[in-house]
Amino acid sequence: MNIDSIHTGIVIDHITAGRSMRLYELLGLGSLHDVSVAIIQNAVSRKMGRKDIIKIDADIPVNFDVIGYVDPSATVNIIRDGQLVEKREIGMPETLRNVIRCKNPRCITSTEQELDHVFKLTDRRHEVYRCIYCETKAN
C-alpha cells in the first residue's frame, strides 16, 4: 500500500499495532478539517513485526505527552521541505495535564469544572497513571 510522502508535517512512527486510533482521538486529529491525516494500521515492521503509523500533512503543534502516554515506544519525525529535521523518542511523561479525564464520580474534578485534570506516573513498569486528587488509576 502506498501513501504519499509528506513535504512538511509530522510522522508518528513505531506505534504499537492497534494504538493509532486512540492516539488519533486524544490528539484531536479528527477536528483538523483542512489537514490531510493518514492512519496506517498493521504496517510490516522489521523491528516490531506489525506497527501503526500516523502521517499529518502540516506542521501543527502536537502534544508529545499524549503520544508518550498512549505509546511510549512511538517516535516522532518532523519533516520540513521534504527533509527530516528532527527525530524524537518520546517515552512516558511524568505528568499528564488535561489529556485524559478522571472518571471517579467521587473525585473533586467531577464537581469543580474549572479544575485541570492532572495525572501522575506512579508505576513506570506497569505504565500506571493516577489522578493527583483522588489517586484513581487512569484507564
Binding site: 467521587r106 473533586i108 469543580e112 506512579t122
Partner: protein, 306 residues
C-alpha cells in the same frame, strides 16, 4: 507552604519529630498553653463530623489559639456554588491554618493548592484522613515503644477502609513489619495497595478470613467495621458478621501484650465487655489524636512563620 493532605506528605523523620513533640506536650502541657496565642485555626467542615472537628478545636484551644468554625456547608458560600479553590483563598485572609473535611476526594489538595496558609486534610471522602493515622501511630508508639518487629493485624473492611490503607502506607516505611490481613473475601485489601505498598517493598503479609486463627501472633490488632451495605446479599452478611466481632472469648486467644485499636465510631464490632480489658486502646487513641493534631498544628504554623 507545607500542607498535609496524605500521611505520606510527612517523612519518617517528620513523623518521629511529631511523636516527640506530642510526648512532650503530654509531659509538659503548660509549656504549650500559649504557643499559638493570637493564631486562628479555621475548621471548614463541608460534611458533618463532630468528633474530628472537636479534636482539632480542642487541640487549638489547648495551644492557646482561637478557632473559626464552619460546621454546616448548607449555610456557607459553598451552597451558593463557590469553588473549593475560592473558599481556600478567602479563608486564607482570615485564619492562619485550615483543617478541612469535604465529601469529595482530592478537595483538600485543591484547597492546599490555592490557600496561602497551611491546610490539614481532616478527611476527603473515602480517600485520606492523615490525622487519624497520626493518632494510630502515636498509640502504637506509646504502647509498644517501637515501630519495628511488629506483627500488625488489620481486621474487617480492608477494601473500603481508608484508615487501613493509610496505616499500611505509614507503617510500611519502617523496618521488619509484618501484616496479617483479616477480612471476608468480599472485603479484602485492594490489589493495588498490596502491590504498591507491600509487595513492591518486600514487606511480608498474609491474608486470612479467621480472626481467631490470627489472634495468637498479633502485637497490634486494628479493628474496623464490617458494614452491611458493602455486601451483595444479606445472606453473606449474616453469615460473616459475627466472625469479625471482637469479644472476650477472642481476646483470650491474644497475647498479654496485644493492643487493640479502632478508629471509632464502633457499632458492634468490639463488644463493650472488651473495654475493660487493659489491652483495649481505642479510647486512648482518641486522646492521642488530639495530641498529634496539636503537634501538627504547631509544626505547620512554625514552618509557615519561618
Amino acid at each position: 507552604m507545607k500542607s498535609v493532605i496524605d500521611i505520606l506528605d510527612l517523612s519518617v523523620e517528620e513523623l518521629d519529630a511529631l511523636i516527640a513533640t506530642a510526648e512532650d506536650i503530654i509531659a509538659n502541657p503548660a509549656k504549650y498553653a500559649e504557643k499559638c496565642h493570637g493564631k486562628k485555626l479555621a475548621t471548614l467542615f463541608f460534611e458533618p463530623s463532630t468528633r474530628t472537628r472537636m479534636s482539632f478545636e480542642a487541640a487549638m484551644y489547648e495551644l492557646g489559639g482561637n478557632v473559626l468554625s464552619m460546621t454546616d456547608a448548607a449555610s456557607s458560600s459553598a451552597s451558593k456554588g463557590e469553588s473549593v479553590a475560592d473558599t481556600a483563598k478567602v479563608i486564607s485572609c482570615y485564619a492562619d491554618i485550615i483543617a478541612m473535611r469535604h465529601p469529595k476526594e482530592g478537595a483538600a489538595l485543591v484547597a492546599a493548592n490555592n490557600a496561602t496558609i497551611p491546610v490539614i486534610n481532616a478527611g476527603d471522602g473515602g480517600h485520606c484522613h492523615p490525622t487519624q493515622t497520626l493518632a494510630d501511630l502515636l498509640t502504637i508508639w506509646r504502647e509498644k515503644k517501637r515501630f519495628s518487629g511488629l506483627t500488625v493485624g488489620l481486621c474487617g473492611d480492608l477494601k473500603f477502609g481508608r484508615t487501613v490503607h493509610s496505616l499500611i502506607n505509614a507503617l510500611s516505611r519502617y523496618e521488619d513489619m509484618h501484616f496479617v490481613l483479616i477480612s471476608p473475601t468480599e472485603l479484602k485489601l485492594p490489589s493495588y495497595v498490596k502491590e504498591e505498598s507491600l509487595k513492591a517493598k518486600g514487606i511480608p503479609y498474609r491474608q486470612t478470613t479467621s480472626l481467631e486463627e490470627a489472634m495468637p501472633e498479633l502485637d497490634v490488632l486494628y479493628m474496623t467495621r464490617v458494614q452491611k451495605e458493602r455486601f451483595f446479599n444479606e445472606e453473606d452478611y449474616l453469615r460473616l458478621k459475627d466472625s469479625y466481632i471482637l469479644d472476650p472469648a477472642k481476646m483470650n486467644l491474644g497475647r498479654e501484650d496485644l493492643i487493640v485499636m479502632h478508629p471509632l465510631p464502633r457499632v458492634n464490632e468490639i463488644s463493650v465487655a472488651v473495654d475493660k480489658d487493659p489491652r483495649a486502646c481505642y479510647f486512648k487513641q482518641v486522646l492521642n489524636g488530639k495530641y498529634m493534631r496539636m503537634a501538627l498544628i504547631l509544626k505547620l504554623l512554625e514552618e509557615a512563620a519561618s
